[in-house]
């Protein structure tokens, strides 16, 4: 190897995690980040003077605790602003539902539902634990080798080890939709609406779509402070985490370059030999690890011509059309939601009152339209972290569904319309909120694509579904972080185990590269 340098394309959380692990193992690593600050989509953005908010994901619930301790993130300034954030699901009548782990009260809840929830959650957490077992390693291939079979066997044994009844139930539900499952279990429409939100957040799917159970389990694989299925917010916004990751990476010896826009991953005679920046600077490297989404990596940076045709088709066919918009409001004062105590404003606030309305909101996006009444997950981060806004002011951050990437009318004109519809829904639950808005911003998937350089504006880089899961994520033949091109690796959310501010893909990729030693 003439040049041992490893380039990481993109300084999002996975890129930084991968870089840090590689550098800790003695590799010479350079991270090339296109934006002026690292963090990718996990950043804190100032969207109006003095008002800051997490760019995409606004709650932390999946960060791998091993990564957090390996990289000593707390030493690098990583702090939680709050933990064990409870959920309140809003009812338009003001009769809200309060959820915290398996504790639930309020709304139309009967005693039976409350009792069943604990049982249901325990089982779901058990199932998620099975997935969790395979998240920390590279996914197996179906064709070759004992080590591959071992990984598969590990999964099989984990499923079997749950016992006969749980195994049957897991196999029954893993591929189907959350609507049917929740209908079987619960009566409360409010409870089902709130739970179904977690099964569809971030994806192009509704509660009645298959894969929604898998989505739900995927979210439950996460933990915060050793507590699974809990939510936390990061001090300083999500950028607080990635800044700490960057510091950890730099402390390990990683060179981090910002405003370094990679225009091309250089392929020479079938082998990746480095990266080229906008402006023409060429950086040779023995390996290039891309944390960009697989379509951007192969279609824009590498060029499909460097793949074989069938592989190029697989890349082109990766399903990754974002369906989530992000609403940011700068507020003059704390909003007041009907029937909600001001103390509850620090919670995760859901507008997903029942599964039917959620499904109907999704229906629009199937046909390239935005939801008439969008559903949303709201946080007011300034309740826990006053530094995010000027004194006495607040920011509101909301994930808004559904906003299809390919909007029929186009996002140039659609953006204002989505903002209007979103505010209309908010006014219904928090009358007068519009009057306290100082600045507003709504990021459509098209904006997310442009701003964070994610093809399709999909946070998870590739839709999370059984056909894009484990050995088929991002596509068969590139599922073990290595790509079909020698010297090129993937380490982003498009890889196993997928999206969410988790860091596993980055760490797994680093381990794979290290395990291969000198072989590219």
């Amino acid at each position: 190897m003439t040049n041992q340098k490893i380039i990481i394309v993109g300084g999002g959380h996975n890129g930084l995690v991968c870089a840090a692990y590689l550098a800790r193992a003695g590799r010479k690593v350079t991270v090339l980040e296109a934006a002026s600050q690292v963090g990718g989509a996990a950043i804190t953005r100032e969207f109006a003077p003095g008002f800051k908010v997490s760019g995409c994901a606004h709650l932390l619930f999946m960060l791998d605790s091993g990564i957090s301790s390996d990289l000593a993130l707390e030493k690098q300034g990583f702090r939680l602003a709050s933990r064990d954030i409870e959920t309140v699901s809003l009812s338009v009548k003001g009769d809200h539902l309060f959820l915290s782990g398996s504790e639930v009260r309020g709304a139309d809840l009967g005693a039976e539902d409350a009792a069943k929830l604990k049982q249901f959650n325990d089982r779901m957490l058990k199932f998620a634990g099975v997935l969790r077992k395979v998240y920390s390693g590279r996914p197996p291939r179906l064709t070759s080798g004992w080590s591959e079979l071992k990984t598969l066997a590990k999964l099989g044994l984990a499923i079997r080890g749950m016992g006969r009844d749980d195994m049957r139930e897991f196999l029954r539900i893993a591929g189907i939709n959350i609507y049917d499952i929740l209908q079987e279990q619960f009566d409360s429409e409010m409870l089902k609406g709130a739970m179904a939100w977690d099964a569809v957040l971030g994806g192009h799917l509704g509660p009645r779509s298959n894969n929604s159970v898998l989505h739900y389990l995927h979210r439950l694989t996460g933990e915060v402070n050793g507590k699974r299925g809990a939510f936390a917010s990061v001090k300083g916004g999500m950028g607080g985490l990635t800044q700490a990751l960057a510091k950890a990476a730099m402390a390990a010896g990683v060179e981090v370059r910002t405003s370094a826009v990679v225009s091309k991953i250089v392929v020479d005679n079938g082998v990746v030999t480095g990266a080229e920046l906008e402006g023409g600077e060429k950086i040779p490297a023995s390996r290039v690890v891309s944390s960009a989404d697989p379509r951007t990596t192969f279609m824009d940076l590498v060029g499909l011509r460097h793949l074989e045709a069938g592989t190029a088709l697989q890349v082109r066919n990766i399903r990754a059309k974002g369906s989530v918009a992000k609403l940011h409001l700068a507020l003059d004062s704390l909003p007041s939601f009907k029937g909600l105590d001001a103390k509850a404003l620090g919670r995760r606030i859901l507008i997903s009152p029942n599964m039917v309305e959620l499904e109907q909101a999704f229906d629009f996006s199937k046909y390239g339209e935005m939801s008439e009444s969008p559903m949303m997950e709201i946080t007011i981060p300034t309740v826990h972290d006053a530094d995010l806004a000027p004194d006495g002011k607040h920011v509101l951050s909301a994930l808004v569904q559904y906003a299809p990437y390919r909007l029929k009318q186009g996002w140039d004109s659609g953006r204002a319309e989505l903002l209007r519809r979103t505010m209309t829904v908010l006014e219904r639950y928090a009358p007068g909120i519009g009057a306290s808005v100082l600045h507003s911003e709504i990021l459509s998937p098209a904006d997310i694509e442009r701003e964070f350089r994610i093809a399709g504006g999909h946070w998870h880089h590739a839709e999370f579904a059984l056909d894009q899961f484990m050995m088929t994520r991002p596509f068969y033949g590139s599922s073990q972080y290595a790509s079909p091109l020698p010297g090129l690796y993937l380490c982003g959310a498009g890889c196993h185990p997928g999206g969410g501010v988790m860091g596993c893909a980055g760490r797994n990729a680093a381990n794979e590269i290290l395990a291969r030693g000198d072989a590219v």
Partner: protein, 396 residues
């Protein structure tokens, strides 16, 4: 573009239909994609002999044709085909195969580098879907032009003389796999020294509106030189003698295969000379490289079989009476005076000198008999006349 309305008419006559239908005494034809073509006009034997001794004319309008242009046309083809197409100069033709990512042959065909950067790809099977898939990431324009070009194969020792007689000056100077253009009644006539018979021969290409006039001119010019329309049965004989393989007969196109192990790589079809690993990337490269290291599963061989009973569909046995393969094409070759066959054998069988037997079932007056005939592996074509290669081409 395919504008045929199949819901009105299933199968069409070709651009030469008015002429071929008059000659088709047997009125027997079969469907070839959108068209019907004659199996034999009168009898396959004289038609075969016309190709070997004078000139046979075969209607190849239905052959699938794609025009490929655009700045990346060459790069696109080079990534799709296993052979190095960057070396193919304008006015030249190359035989080629293309594979899927598993290195299994999808089809074979000929690529014509017409004018610089303009290519015509001819194949047995429809390929637009695979071409479009292969075009991802390339700035290239692909048009199916099967119906926009009428074509005839003019094959046999007097074919050059007939074309000269028709007024095509310096036709003899076209080298094998060369292309030349002529004016024909105000239209462009493309002539390539190519064919499916392993002999001297040409293929002529013209706009469909001029097809009948071209046919008439050729037959007028060829009257004294034994020109004759030939059907697919006769062509089949010549191509087996030449040792050419055919999609759907000697190999299964990979994109149509369902069962594993049914497809073949270029190595397994005796086409390793078409695979160029010096190219850094082409579809199938990885798999083929691995196959080269690991060894292939099959060998496609030419067999010279004792006796005169064609070994059609015969099993091939080794000395231990184990089945080692099957015949894919077989015939009694009147010119080679040999009982010849193409066969797909399990590796390692198929080396010259292997002791092999063909298990032949044949019928005489409704009585079936069976013979186990010794089969010798032959290297090189069964029939390979010198005039096939000589330039300037001879008149006979």
């Amino acid at each position: 573009m395919n504008t045929k309305e199949h819901f009105r008419t299933f199968v069409y006559p070709t651009a030469f239909g008015s002429r071929t239908s008059k000659l088709n005494q047997l009125n027997e034809s079969h469907r070839w994609k959108d068209y019907h073509v004659a199996d034999a006009y009168e009898d396959e034997a004289p038609e075969y002999f016309a190709m070997r001794n004078s000139t046979g004319v075969f209607d190849l309008c239905p052959m699938t044709k794609h025009r490929i242009t655009g700045p990346d046309a060459m790069d696109f083809l080079n990534r799709m085909l296993t052979r190095d197409i960057s070396q193919l100069k304008p006015s030249r033709v190359a035989y080629c195969v293309w594979c899927d990512d598993d290195g299994q042959v999808i089809d074979d065909g000929t690529v014509f580098h017409m004018r610089p950067g303009e290519y015509l790809l001819c194949s047995q099977e429809r390929q637009l879907d695979w071409l479009n898939i292969s075009a991802l990431g390339f700035d290239v324009s692909i048009k199916e032009v099967t119906h926009d070009i009428a074509a005839l194969a003019l094959q046999g020792p007097t074919s050059c003389a007939i074309l000269r007689e028709m007024g095509l000056a310096n036709i003899e100077e076209i080298k094998p796999f060369g292309i030349a253009w002529y004016d024909f009644e105000g239209s462009e006539l493309m002539v390539s020294r190519t064919g499916f018979t392993g002999d001297l021969g040409y293929e002529v290409w013209i706009e469909p509106g001029k097809a009948e006039a071209l046919w008439d001119a050729l037959f007028a010019a060829g009257k004294q030189r034994g020109i004759r329309a030939v059907g697919t049965h006769a062509l089949e004989m010549t191509r087996i003698e030449a040792g050419f393989i055919q999609a759907g007969v000697d190999f299964l196109p990979a994109d149509g295969a369902v069962r594993p192990g049914r497809t073949r790589s270029p190595f397994e079809l005796g086409l390793s000379w078409l695979v160029d690993f010096k190219k850094p990337n082409f579809t199938g490269r990885k798999a083929l490289l691995a196959e080269k290291e690991r060894g292939s599963r099959f060998n496609l061989v030419k067999l010279d079989i004792a006796g005169n009973k064609p070994a059609t569909n015969a099993y091939i046995y080794n000395r231990k009476n184990e089945v080692v393969g099957t015949v894919t094409s077989a015939m009694w070759s009147p010119t080679a005076k040999a009982n010849i066959a193409l066969a797909s054998l399990h590796a390692p069988w198929g080396k010259p000198g292997d002791e092999l037997y063909a298990d032949i079932y044949y019928q005489r007056e409704l009585k079936w008999s069976r013979v186990k005939a010794r089969a010798e592996v032959v290297e090189g074509a069964f029939y390979d006349p010198e005039r096939r290669r000589v330039t300037p081409a001879r008149d006979t």
